[in-house]
Symmetry: C2
Subunit: 255 residues, 2 copies
DNA sequence: CGCCTGTTTGATCTACCTCAACTGCTGTGG
DNA sequence: CCACAGCAGTTGAGGTAGATCAAACAGGCG
């Protein structure tokens, strides 16, 4: 399963960090030109085919880095094969824990993926010397922790319908940020995962996911032009179903 | 519910950081004497009664800091009242996100709690100037993220029996580290949570938790001398049931 | 002693899982 | 151009783990 990737042509191929599409959002976004030059020297690109493992659980990982293009799923597996996704990474997200040599999960390419990688040793050295890098990594880790805690609420307490609605809203928000446009009724959402991966994301079975998609369609909240596309026909209702406080009610400070 | 805490006497009351019980494990553990002096000046202690809110969801928090004594639960709530615990903090753990003014969860004292607190502003200033503080906070955040991902696997894929067994093993491990002793058959585990809080931890109902406790007792894996105490009579079986790879199989490195 | 709160146990119900059949693509080969 | 695998997704029928509703029970405390 870990075959060498065949040459994949992405629409855009970065050669130097200054041109990089994720330059201002990735772990390097606070780096000074001087530091960027060091990163430039150390980095290398690698492409992965859908389904290919980037990191595998229990493995002593030698590389870590940023997703430039594509989507990566982090998943954990029980001995009997039950699997749970624990992370879904988009361009600019960072894979791998500095200072922690053994990966606690599989990282699998969900689509074609281009990674900007570093050898662990080199990256850790750079990190040690760089206030900016460390600061940005802390920020990103805190964001990931927030997302994980929101996800725990979903897994522990939401119904299947709420789970799927939440998933669609999360994807919408992610797409809105990456593509810099608002979430609107009628917007077509490209889903980078098949039904099985969605089920692993939500802690459901593939059949339940499928049924919930059908229910959402029957209720008129979404259209399903094809298996990998969801058109949001009623964002407000979907958001309501997802059970999210998205209103900007400023609560007053205490103590 | 947010009444001022009455005076609580803990057995040990730190006055200066050098004497502090969590000195070598908390966010300040890498700090130099010089930095410690700054922390010393900025810190203040505060005690909380069981059930008292330390931080509340959506609130603009002005303080953050370390748990010195006691246990704190982080929980998220849906509009209709369904609640999920998303963090359980022991002495030396850190509460609050620097750079993120609005709390995404309630932090509630599960037991009597003594906190070592800082005003957000002051702490952020210290953090900005301190390589050590930032590094330790990054480490701790990464640990919390690991724990959250393990927890997601539990919530999404484990059965009620597996969930409870996992919970007991997590508590055991935590106690083993804090009290610096191994996990052994016969060891009595003090549970800092009532059945309801356990249910919120595991994404179950209180009744299911209670039934699973009874089942574990009937199967001879635990004794239940009183409601807040669990004696582990068969650690190996419990670990097995929890479905954890606790063996130290070194997997070989790849690329 | 009776009240209050937290826990256990029992009986039933239901959301989601499981197993199984079916649909509709997409690619391949005659 | 059609036949037919092969796979991903959908739909259906029935089973079950855990939820829900309800009652009994235990300990602490006035």
């Amino acid at each position: 399963m870990v075959t060498e990737p065949t040459a994949i042509e992405f629409t855009w191929k970065p050669h130097c960090c200054a041109d990089c599409a994720i330059r201002h959002r990735a772990v390097c976004s606070y780096s000074t030109p001087a530091e960027l030059a060091l990163l430039e020297k150390a980095k290398f690109y690698k492409d992965f085919e859908p389904g290919q493992e980037i990191v595998s659980e229990g493995e002593h990982t030698q590389v870590l880095g940023s997703v430039i293009d594509g989507v990566v799923a982090l998943q954990k597996t029980l001995e009997d094969g039950r699997r749970q996704m624990v992370g879904l990474l988009f361009p600019s997200d960072f894979i791998g824990r500095p200072l922690r040599p053994v990966a606690p999960y599989d990282a699998v390419a969900a689509t074609r993926v281009r990674m900007c990688l570093f050898h662990r040793r080199e990256f850790e050295d750079l990190l040690r010397g760089s206030e900016q890098l460390k600061h940005r990594l802390l920020e990103m880790t805190l964001d990931e922790l927030d997302a994980a805690q929101e996800w725990m609420l979903l897994l522990g307490r939401k119904t299947a319908a709420e789970k799927l609605a939440s998933f669609l809203m999360i994807l919408s928000r992610r797409a809105a940020v990456l593509e810099n446009r608002p979430i609107l009724d009628g917007m077509a959402l490209q889903i980078p995962l098949g039904r099985e991966a969605i089920a692993e994301y939500l802690g459901l079975t593939i059949e339940t996911v499928s049924r919930q998609f059908s229910t959402l369609r029957r209720k008129g909240l979404v259209d399903l032009p094809d298996k990998r596309t969801v058109a949001l026909t009623n964002v407000a209702a979907l958001q309501q179903l997802a059970g999210e406080d998205f209103d900007d009610t400023a609560s007053d400070a205490v103590a």
